[in-house]
Symmetry: C2
Subunit: 230 residues, 2 copies
Amino acid sequence: MATRIVMLAYPQMDQMDLTGPYEVFARLPDCRVQIVWKNRKPVRDSLGLTLVPDTKFSKVKGCDVLCVPGGPGQITLMEDEETLDFLRRMARTASYVTSVCTGSLVLGAAGLLMGYKATCHWLSLEQLSLLGAIPVAERVVVDRDRMTCAGVTSGIDFALMLARELAGENEARRISLAMEYDPRPPFPGLADEDSRLVEEVRLRTAAFQEQRVAVARAAGQRLLSHPDLP
Amino acid sequence: MATRIVMLAYPQMDQMDLTGPYEVFARLPDCRVQIVWKNRKPVRDSLGLTLVPDTKFSKVKGCDVLCVPGGPGQITLMEDEETLDFLRRMARTASYVTSVCTGSLVLGAAGLLMGYKATCHWLSLEQLSLLGAIPVAERVVVDRDRMTCAGVTSGIDFALMLARELAGENEARRISLAMEYDPRPPFPGLADEDSRLVEEVRLRTAAFQEQRVAVARAAGQRLLSHPDLP
C-alpha cells in the first residue's frame, strides 16, 4: 500500500512550511500526499497565497506520516479542539509525527511532544518547554518517531531527510537533484553574525510573540488535565 | 506607489518555482504580489498542489516585476499565444523580467531573452540557445533587467537577491532571517559528484526532454518571423 502522507493546511499558516516539504513528498514513489483541513474551502496563508485542501478531516482514516506547518494561524489552532483531536487521531497510526516551524507548537498543544526533544522557529523555540517538550536549537531534530524542524525553509532539509528514511538514499538524492537543491543563500548564516538585526526582529515582533507565549502557556496548563493523555 | 509583482501560475507548473519566490516577495514592504492566470479557476501543479490565482490576465494593466515559474506545463505555454502576448505586454512596463527553472524557456518563447544571458533547470539549460538566449550554467544569472535562475529551489536564492535590489540589503537580510534561510542540504552539491545518478535521471526523462526540445526548436523558428519582435 502507498505511504499515506497527511499535511495539515489552515488559515494564516505560512505557505512555505507546507509547500517546501510537499515538493519533496509528492516526488516520492508509492506515496499519496494529502493536504487536509476541516473542509475543502480554499485556505489563505498569512502572506496571501490561496491553497485548496485535497480533503477534510472526517474523510481521513489514518496516515503514515503526519506533517503540521507553522505560521501565525498556529495560535488559533492551539486552542482548537477539533484540530487537536484530529492530530491526536492521526498520530495513533503515524510512523512519523512531524512539523515545520511553529507547527511544533501545535503538535505540543495536542500533547504530542511530551518528553520529546523538538525544535521550532528560532523566535519561538523556548515555548516548546511550556508544552512538555525539550527545545533543541538545531535545524532538524529527530527523537524516536518525532521529526521537527526550524523556521520555514528548514522544511526542505527535513523533508529530504524523511524521504531518505521512507524511500532510501538513492531516491532522496534523485529528488534533491531534480529540485536542483544546491542552495547559495545570498545571506549565509543566521542570527549569530548579525545580532543587531535579531534584536530588531525581536522588538518588531514582541507584542505578537507575547500573545504566542500566553497561548502556549495556557495550552500547557490544559495538557496537565487532559483525559486522553498519559 | 507599491511595487507590483506579477507571478504567472498555470496548470502543470512546478508549484515551488512559484511558492519559493512568493514567500520572499510577499514579505517585502510596499509590495503587491499577484498570482495571475487566464482565469481565476484553481490551478493544479504537476505534483498535485492546487493554487487559486489572485486575478486574470485581462485585469492586469502592468507590473514592475514579472516572474514566470517552470514545470512540465511550460511546454504547452510555449505554444500558447495568449500567454506569450500577456508576458510581452507585462515586459513592456517591468523593471525586472524574471523566471525560475524552465520558466526561462517560456520567456524565451515569448522572445524576451533574445541576446540575453540566462539560465534554466540543469536538464534543459541548452534549450535556451534555440530561443536566442545565451545559456549560462549558474544558479542565478543577471543580464541587464533579466534575472533567471536554475531548477526549482534556486527560486529562493534568486528572490532574496531581487529583494535586495528592490528594498535594500537590510530588508533582504531581515526576510532571510524570518525564513530562517540557513540551508543544510542533506545531499550537498549536485551533478558533478554523482554522475551515475545524473545519467539515470537523463535516461528516465529522455522521452519527455525530447518533446521539450522539439517545442523549443519550433518556438525558436516562430520567433524569427514574429511581427512584434525586433
